[in-house]
């Protein structure tokens, strides 16, 4: 065998090895960020660096909420997945449905708010997003399949006896799911949307996070797009709230955690500016991503509740 043939074979071998390992590394990234986690977190207080006062506030709310009777609700998604939530009932004719964020726990995101709204005479439905905890689903799609689930939960809530008013509240991915669903909501019982720390576009979000974390997103983007398309059956651009909010007709409150380092302020501005419906905004000073309530506490929730009351 001539020397140049050996060089060529070695060269091709290394090339193939490089391509395969690149796809493998990208697959690992995909499984971390787009697939249901095998060992989901129950408690992530340490991760989020909450201070002692905030931790106590959250824990006490969870403790008190636990003492309220509730029952597990199961519905079927449009693609036949079982979705699970907990319903806290009172005698009111209004219900708030709470949609948590990516790889979050519903009660960690919403323990305080759920208790607050229950005490302020709302029925509360707190759900597990698809591919999280009790809900079925293999892939997390950052709002794409989840926005169809928002519509399924609305259908369930509107079927409850005596319910005249439905409010949707989503944090981060939950907020983006509501924004994506907004143009498709036909049920006129839905009166308000609350969107906290939501991104507008998945590709921009990934780009943003990668830039702040000094990760070269560009070298993985195309292959990641391949897995997103062929495994989770979506595309980067399926998640974009600009068009849906432009067609939204439901009063929307946009909430911004001032020190959110994950979802850039430009996402908040774009969401707010694109929204064609009647809208309000609340800024929560010092708050980190998804923690507006633990920073703003009662005064933030009172402001939110005031907007809900004023816009009926």
């Amino acid at each position: 065998m001539s020397w140049w043939l050996i060089v060529l074979i070695v060269f091709i071998g290394f090339g193939l090895l490089f391509i395969l390992s690149h796809y493998y590394v990208t697959y690992l990234i995909f499984t971390k960020f787009f697939k249901r986690q095998k060992n989901e977190k129950i408690l992530r207080l340490a991760y989020h660096n909450l201070n002692e006062e905030q931790t106590t506030y959250l824990k006490e709310s969870i403790r008190e909420l636990h003492s309220h009777p509730h029952h597990e609700i199961k519905i079927k998604s449009y693609d036949n997945k079982i979705l699970v939530g907990d319903l806290y009932k009172n005698s009111s004719d209004r219900i708030i449905i709470l949609f948590h964020g990516f790889q979050a726990d519903n009660y960690m995101n919403f323990g305080v708010q759920a208790l607050y709204f229950l005490k302020h005479n709302y029925n509360v439905l707190i759900i597990d997003e698809r591919a999280h905890k009790r809900s079925e689903g293999k892939y997390i799609t950052y709002g794409y399949y989840e926005h169809h689930d928002v519509l399924s939960w609305i259908e369930y809530a509107s079927s409850l006896k005596d319910i005249k008013e439905i409010i949707l509240y989503g944090i981060s991915m939950g907020g983006t799911s509501i924004a994506l669903a907004s143009e498709k909501i036909k049920e006129n019982k839905v009166k308000h949307l609350i969107i906290e720390d939501a991104y507008t576009n998945l590709e921009k979000l990934a780009d943003n996070i990668a830039t702040t974390q000094h990760i070269p997103f560009g070298i993985f983007k195309r292959e990641l797009g391949f897995y997103i398309k062929h495994l989770s059956k979506t595309n980067w651009n399926d998640i974009d709230t600009a068009k849906s909010l432009a067609n939204n007709k439901i009063h929307t409150i946009f909430v911004r955690s001032e020190k959110d380092s994950i979802v850039d302020i430009s996402f908040f501005n774009d969401n707010y500016n694109n929204c064609a419906a009647k809208k309000d905004k609340i800024f929560v000073p010092e708050a980190k991503h998804a923690w507006a309530t633990l920073y703003g506490k009662e005064s933030y929730l009172n402001e939110l509740n005031k907007y809900l009351g004023e816009n009926n």
Partner: protein
């Protein structure tokens, strides 16, 4: 340092506080009891239990995952580790 039996007894106290109507059933809880399948703990109950453990044992569990608490034995192991 608490023994495993002492930790188990304190865990039972937490479980009774969570649902006093199950006090009788909880006498039979042992290390092989499964939290979700046998005791029906899920979602807020599981979170409540974790929060109560932190308080009762004066420990900080930090990040806790579903697989850390499959059985009572797992919970005891986790608490023992935090107490060391």
């Amino acid at each position: 340092m608490l023994s495993r039996n002492e930790i188990l007894e304190k865990l039972k106290e937490i479980l009774v506080a969570m649902d006093p109507s199950k006090e009788g059933e909880l006498d039979n809880v042992n290390e092989s009891t499964r939290l979700v399948e046998d005791l029906g703990l899920m979602s807020i109950s599981l979170l409540f239990m974790v929060v109560s453990i932190e308080e009762k044992f004066n420990v900080e569990l930090g990040d806790v995952s579903v697989n850390d608490f499959v059985t009572v034995k797992d919970a005891i192991d986790h608490i023992e580790k935090c107490l060391k």
